[in-house]
């Protein structure tokens, strides 16, 4: 059977299944479809307005406006390229080596290369669609600010096709190489090392300006610094450079130059696919068989891993948890189990690390931008943006990782539900464990960013206290809604979901995310409005009132979903 026939069959099959998914979503809950629709449109409008205002602001910088706007484009696509690459590595490993479909297809009379080709399509789609969704308002805003012709938007879409294929293909080649030449248990360490090297490189490249420069308040000097620090995005060998240059050219109406960079992207994308095809014929089956044939190993890293998280008679983790005074033994056992399960699922923690790694990079990079340090209004504004970014990232993580916890636990009710412990305690354990890690992360990031921005003491305390409240509130929402609206899949027990990514895609997951976002918006508004509207007035009183409101709101976000959830599980029949 020809490669195109196999690809066509699988594409038609997945098309039909996607249609069914949308249809069942429509049949099950019109409300959810409505909520999703509102959220998508709301995001596009808000992001478009934000990007358009940003581009408009840059264009008004005398003499440098266009240069700065174009630089934003280069930077945007450079970051997109890096994120697409990592996203393809993580998703590629799952689709190639963890998906049961791969094993099934390998027993069919089709070539290994055809299986790999299909998995490439699946990986690139899964790894890229969300980024395209996020990038759409950016490109639209750029086109409008540039007064681009309507054909520009279609051409921009065309540019995206080869652009997403390049990091996709490269990511899969890295996956094949890591799997072929590295033990399965080292894959996550390999990926982690790659990420760390990238962060160190970025930290070195975006090194701080000296103290004298920090005192400079001239806009042009600040912009010079910005342009110097972002020069890496102008490397002409980067696909993101071709993408941005092509888009700028088509935006300006230079058809020939735009076409050149489009064809450059297409030819490189085809080259990457060709290399993938050749390499996959040699390596895919080898890598697959090797991945499935590896036993346990006893290297120092493995021993460390076992000692820390599992297998030994008494691990470091168990010893650490035993130091927690007054902790019920069953709660301790559940916490240790949850941490082990999280650690051993590569797709879970790698997404977690990528999210917070990028956020950490952003916070660290704050020192490199020449803010007007004496202007507390500006520093406070940036600090609010940080709080918003950290909280929204945390909301994504609590929805993705905390919300599915109870649904997953229901699958194991034969053990957890039958022990003399009670489901109420299970729900509370989920809340405390998720709160502990989320408070640690957001608190430290907020402290770091406040210190970087040289905020006054009262503002640092305000932001750190708010970060703690928001963490607890978001965990309350995720655990509470997770127990109130668990997603168990449909049909018999055998068909129930055991994949957190699948669990989160139902009504409960969407509802949890929307409630979390609304909560964050209310918190930020409650604190920002009194501060900015009373600048010079009775600030202390306003801040106290605002913080009391945020505390009350957070308490409600913890108590309402949690008490409803506790009531539900006390009368639960499964």
């Amino acid at each position: 059977m020809s490669a195109s026939r196999v690809l066509g069959l699988l594409l038609a099959l997945y098309g039909r299944m996607s249609q069914r998914r949308i249809q069942s979503l429509r049949d099950q809950s019109r409300l959810m479809l409505f909520v999703i629709g509102i959220f998508v449109v709301g995001y596009w409008i808000a992001a478009y307005v934000l990007f358009r205002s940003g581009f408009g602001y840059l264009l008004r910088v005398p003499g440098l406006g266009e240069v700065l706007m174009d630089r934003m484009l280069y930077l945007f696509f450079a970051f997109l390229l890096v994120m697409l690459f990592f996203s393809n590595v993580v998703i590629g490993y799952s689709t190639l080596f963890k998906s049961p479909e791969t094993g099934w297809l390998l027993t069919m009379p089709i070539r290994y290369a055809d299986v790999f080709r299909w998995k490439t399509v699946e990986t690139v789609f899964l790894a890229s669609w969300a980024f395209l969704f996020l990038a759409a308002p950016f490109v639209a805003a750029y086109g409008v600010v540039r007064d681009a012709a309507p054909a520009f938007y279609l051409k921009a879409l065309l540019l995206f096709v080869p652009f997403i294929i390049i990091p996709g293909g490269l990511g899969l080649l890295v996956v094949l190489a890591l799997t072929r030449f590295l033990h399965r248990q080292y894959f996550k360490w390999g990926l982690f090392t790659l990420g760390t090297v990238l962060v160190i490189f970025a930290g070195w490249y975006l090194r701080p300006v000296d103290a004298a420069q920090l005192q400079q308040t001239e806009l042009v000097q600040s912009l010079n610094q910005l342009l110097a620090n972002s020069r890496i995005a102008l490397q002409p060998l980067l696909p993101s450079y071709w993408m941005a240059t092509g888009m700028i050219a088509w935006g300006e109406g230079w058809s020939g130059r735009g076409l050149f960079f489009f064809l450059l992207l297409v030819s490189n994308a085809m080259m990457v696919l060709l290399v993938c095809s050749v390499v996959s014929q040699r390596l895919f089956y080898e890598s697959w068989s090797r991945n499935k044939s590896q036993g346990t190993i006893g290297t120092p890293g493995q021993v460390f891993h076992r000692n820390l998280l599992g297998d030994s008679n008494c691990t470091w983790l168990e010893r650490l948890m035993s130091l927690w005074p007054g902790l019920h033994p069953a709660t301790r056992a559940l916490m240790i189990k949850d941490m082990r399960v999280f650690w051993r699922d590569t797709s879970q923690w790698s997404q977690f690390v990528i999210f917070f790694g990028l956020l950490g990079l952003y916070v660290i990079n704050l020192r490199n931008v020449s803010y007007d340090w004496n202007n507390q209004h500006w520093a406070g504004f940036v600090a609010f943006l940080n709080l918003g970014a950290s909280s929204m990232t945390l909301a994504t993580l609590t929805t993705r990782f905390v919300y599915p916890q109870f649904s997953l636990e229901i699958r194991r009710l034969w053990i957890v539900g039958l022990v003399p412990y009670g489901l109420k305690r299970v729900v509370l354990e989920k809340f405390w464990l998720s709160s502990a890690w989320s408070v640690c992360i957001t608190f430290s990031l907020t402290c770091l960013s406040s210190w970087m921005l040289q905020l006054p003491g009262w503002m640092t305390i305000l932001f750190c206290a708010t970060a703690v409240l928001v963490s607890l509130g978001l965990c309350g929402i995720a655990v509470g809604i997770g127990a109130l609206f668990p997603n168990l899949g449909s049909g018999s027990t055998a068909n129930r979901y055991d994949n957190p990514a699948k669990i989160v895609s139902g009504f409960g997951g969407t509802f949890c995310f929307v409630v979390s976002m609304v909560y964050i918006a209310l918190v930020i508004a409650a604190e920002a409005v009194p501060i900015y509207f009373s600048w010079g007035g009775n600030l202390t009183l306003n801040i106290v009132v605002a913080w009391l409101f945020v505390s009350l709101l957070s308490l409600l976000m913890i108590l309402v979903p949690m008490s409803l959830a506790l009531h539900k599980v006390s009368v639960l029949e499964v």
Binding site: L13, G103, M108, P109, I110
Partner: protein, 250 residues
């Protein structure tokens, strides 16, 4: 129809299959027995090409599964212990898709579907999405999909898991009948009475080694136990574990 030559598979330092030599003829019903962790599923994965052997070779219908995987798989059907299905498809759509992957023409696919739906009582579920089917119905569907292209070699791992007695009877009858008509069946199971009831020959694997192979009668003689297969199985595996007795030539 199935042949292995010194087939060996290591997982790190652990040898899961150790120098397996086996020959199963056309139309033979072969049952593969062994305790948990004996290497049965690994052997099946080596026969189907899902794993690459550390040493040795496996042939299906004369084709080396590593050298000529597509030719071998055209003759082969495999039902694993935990089969994969596309949840959002209906049974009819799934069978059509499988038929198309095997390159069957549309008329033959539709004929096969009707016949198998009748045989496995799947007609009433033809338009339900697979995610709504019970475990037993899914198992029947998987077996039906494996039989659709009329395979010459049928490899099945724990076939009766989740099947009610009526469905189990149907599966056993279908496999036995197909075997009589020339299909080679390689059945791996823990349920000894199924092997006793259906198999022409039985192979017993322990710690990756084939410790006995032969007809029921030959196994009884080799074990020195004249009772049921269970007694012979327990005697043979215990003797191998305690004394390292080499595989008897049955």
């Amino acid at each position: 129809m199935i042949r292995t030559e010194h087939l060996t598979k290591d997982f790190g330092n652990f040898r899961a299959v150790d120098d397996l030599n086996l020959e199963i003829g056309t139309g033979e019903f072969f049952a593969f027995l062994g305790p948990n962790g004996a290497g049965k599923t690994t052997t099946i994965k080596l026969l189907t090409g899902l794993l690459k052997p550390t040493a040795g070779r496996a042939f299906i219908g004369g084709f080396d599964i590593q050298q000529h995987p597509i030719e071998a798989r055209r003759l082969l059907a495999y039902v694993p212990d935990m089969p994969f299905l596309y949840d959002k498809l209906t049974p009819r759509e799934f069978l059509r898709f499988v038929g198309e992957l095997y390159g069957m023409d549309r008329a033959r696919i539709e004929r096969g579907i009707e016949e198998l739906f009748e045989l496995f009582s799947l007609g009433e579920h033809a338009h339900d999405q697979i995610e709504t089917l019970s475990h037993g119905t899914r198992q029947r569907l998987v077996i039906a999909s494996a039989l659709l292209h009329d395979p010459k070699v049928f490899i099945i791992d724990e076939p009766m898991v989740g099947l009610d007695p009526r469905s189990a009877r149907v599966v056993k009858d279908v496999l036995k009948e197909r075997s009589r008509n020339g299909m080679t069946v390689f059945l791996s199971t823990h349920i000894l009475h199924i092997a006793e009831e259906l198999a022409d020959r039985i192979g017993i694997l322990n710690n990756g080694r084939l410790i006995a192979v032969g007809t029921m009668e030959e196994l009884r003689v080799a074990s020195g136990v004249m009772g049921a297969l269970e007694d012979a199985f327990l005697t043979l595996t215990r003797a191998e574990e305690e004394e390292g007795v080499p595989a008897p030539e049955a």
